[in-house]
């Protein structure tokens, strides 16, 4: 009896993510969702700059690699011209909430019928652990080595809450990958977002909390625990917008 099969939406390429990082899990959730919804052939993905920059090697569909922060604009260009395709964007916190905040907010405000998967690991991973717009208060990074001090570094940005102030978004949810239960819930949210897009319902945004054992300087298990216990305090999980449920 076959109990598990790797989705065809992922290539066989060896992923470069660090041990204990949960990026790979999110890749699988996105890929499985696209395959299960039968969207693979008409799907175009946008890879970001940052840890997921090589996503074009992993997602087995047409892919564009965008400049840092510009993925929602790139996705807008594709989706407006080819409205019957599925367009998903995969971005990290530096890409989406720092350099790309303008593109993020305006794609949401326009209600582009795209799906954004936002990976929040509270750190710049690829460049080696600098402070991110989502770094927690007190969390150490290479550019705030005594821990994030609000007086100097300001406060972390809660993107779901920010986008939920806009009228256009159809579905906004924050999920996590710190244990199996939450991974399953994350899959449900991602698939729902892609389904909404395929039905032409509008802008969908899933924030996924992800661990970074390497740059948090933690063992993978400790990183998962930190994510579940600490990250979720600053970034509460939940549905911030779901027009299908009447949640405005």
């Amino acid at each position: 009896m076959k109990v598990f099969e790797k989705t065809k939406m992922l290539t066989d390429a060896h992923m470069h993510y660090c041990p204990g990082c949960t990026h790979g899990i999110v890749h699988r959730l996105v890929a499985e969702s696209i395959e299960e919804l039968g969207l693979q052939e008409k799907c175009i993905g946008i890879a970001p700059v940052g840890c997921a920059v090589f996503a074009y090697d992993y997602f087995n569909c047409d892919m564009q690699e965008a400049a840092h922060g510009r993925a929602p604009a790139v996705a807008t260009g594709i989706k407006r011209c080819l409205p019957d395709r599925t367009v998903f964007v995969y971005q990290g916190d530096g890409d989406l909430a720092s350099i790309g905040m303008a593109e993020t907010v305006h794609a949401a405000a326009r209600g582009e019928n795209i799906t954004i998967i936002f990976i929040n690991n509270s750190i710049y991973g690829m460049t080696g652990g600098q402070m991110a717009p989502t770094t927690l208060i007190g969390q150490k990074a290479t550019t705030c080595q005594n821990g994030r001090d609000p007086a100097v570094n300001g406060y972390p940005i809660r993107v779901c809450e920010l986008l939920a102030t806009l009228d256009a978004p159809y579905y906004i949810e924050r999920v996590s990958t710190h244990d199996v239960k939450h991974v399953i819930a994350a899959k449900r949210a991602i698939k729902k977002a892609l389904k909404f897009q395929s039905e032409g319902r509008g802008y969908t945004f899933i924030e996924v909390l992800v661990s970074c054992p390497t740059n948090w300087h933690m063992r993978p298990v400790d990183a998962l625990r930190f994510m579940g216990e600490e990250c979720t305090k600053t970034f509460p999980l939940g549905v911030y917008r779901d027009k299908s449920e009447g949640k405005e």
């Binding site: 052939e41 008409k42 799907c43 175009i44 946008i46 890879a47 920059v53 090589f54 074009y56 087995n60 569909c61 047409d62 892919m63 564009q64 690699e65 965008a66 400049a67 510009r70 604009a73 790139v74 996705a75 807008t76 260009g77 594709i78 989706k79 407006r80 011209c81 080819l82 395709r85 303008a102 593109e103 907010v105 305006h106 326009r110």
Partner: protein
């Protein structure tokens, strides 16, 4: 076909739409606001896409997406806005996504002024953003050319998979002239783009990317780009020569200034001075052959580059003339456009200096 009176910016839009442009992404900046305004009305009428982007940065990246998906796409801006687009243009050049970028130049640097200038020549012809790359750069000098060159820019961009730029000073953007419009080209007539990321539908998947992290792969890629630029140089250099056959003093200018220079040539000839004018039509590739062939002529004494800058194209003129004859410069900046008389005097001065130094 009869001519209609069109604004330079509208002529650009018509040239684009009539050659298959079906996506326009823009952001307001003077003196090119008429482009996004016109496109916002016209694009929906022909089944195209218009988006007012949140910034010039977003607009060029929307072009990246749309053109990468195989649609003929364009953005337009003016100097400070084009600076903002340079990141995107560099990515587009590396990923080999054909598209058209319009720069209706205003005076700089910085926020500068809103009147005509040609201070973005270096930026347009030498790459503009980071890395080794070039755009195909076309310089219209009338509303008719604004239409025709934009039309042609889409074909050139597609043929070579190189982004093309329409580089016009603010005067060309704001002029109103009679234009004969080309017929609307059916989309079915435009060659397919097998590399476009439009959903693979069971075929091999496509990737558009400008990250080539292995040096043993990036160098061949950059070399391949260079081979394309060499091919463009061999095939596409274009210049108009006006009364150069026996000219002792050759003025050279593009865009609005070229029109004034041609009038100056006529005035100089009326005064008995054998003057001519070379008007580069392609700024990249630079039409160096037009210059070198004239520089070889014994009766050619000197060149004078006239620009709305402090001397940018003159560097390419010097390279093309290669020391065979003296090359002089006359320029105005700040949004000022030289009068015909100023150019006549500058030409006489240049010719006199060249003869005295012989």
């Amino acid at each position: 076909m009869s001519k209609i009176l069109l604004h330079g910016t509208e002529a650009i839009c018509e040239g684009a739409m009539r050659n298959g442009c079906r996506a326009f992404f823009g952001y307001p900046i003077t003196p090119q606001n008429e482009v996004p305004e016109y496109m916002s009305v016209k694009m929906p009428q022909i089944g195209g896409v218009f988006v007012q982007a949140e910034s010039e940065v977003a607009a060029i990246n929307m072009v990246y997406g749309a053109a990468g998906a195989g649609i003929r796409a364009m953005t337009s801006s003016s100097s400070p806005g084009v600076s903002l687009k340079q990141e995107g243009i560099s990515y587009i050049a590396c990923a080999r996504i054909p598209c058209v970028v319009v720069n209706i130049m205003r005076a700089g640097p910085g926020l500068g002024g809103i009147l005509p200038a040609q201070g973005d020549y270096f930026q347009a012809t030498k790459g503009g953003g980071h890395g080794d790359y070039h755009l195909i750069v076309l310089a219209p000098s009338s509303a008719q050319e604004a239409c025709d060159f934009t039309y042609r820019a889409f074909d050139l961009a597609d043929r070579y998979r190189v982004p093309a730029m329409i580089l016009a000073d603010g005067m060309i953007g704001q002029i109103m002239e009679p234009v004969e419009l080309p017929p609307m080209r059916p989309l079915s007539d435009i060659p397919e783009k097998p590399w476009a990321t439009s959903g693979h539908y069971g075929k091999d998947r496509r990737i558009l990317n400008s990250l080539i992290i292995k040096p043993e792969q990036l160098e061949p890629h950059v070399n391949e780009l260079q081979r394309t630029y060499n091919e463009i140089y061999a095939n596409e250099r274009k210049a108009e020569q006006y009364k150069t056959e026996d000219a002792e003093i050759i003025l050279t200018a593009y865009g609005t200034v070229a029109r004034i220079c041609k009038s100056a040539v006529d005035q100089l000839r009326a005064q008995g001075v054998k003057a001519g004018c070379i008007r580069p039509i392609t700024l990249y590739p630079f039409p160096d052959d037009a210059f070198s062939s004239n520089a070889e002529r014994a009766d050619c004494k000197a060149f004078l580059s006239v620009e709305l800058s402090l001397g940018q194209m003159v560097e390419d003129v010097r390279l093309a003339v290669n020391g065979k004859k003296p090359v002089y410069f006359y320029g105005r900046t700040g949004g000022n456009v030289p009068e015909e008389e100023e150019i006549v005097e500058a030409a006489k001065g240049a010719l006199g200096k060249a003869k005295s130094e012989l």
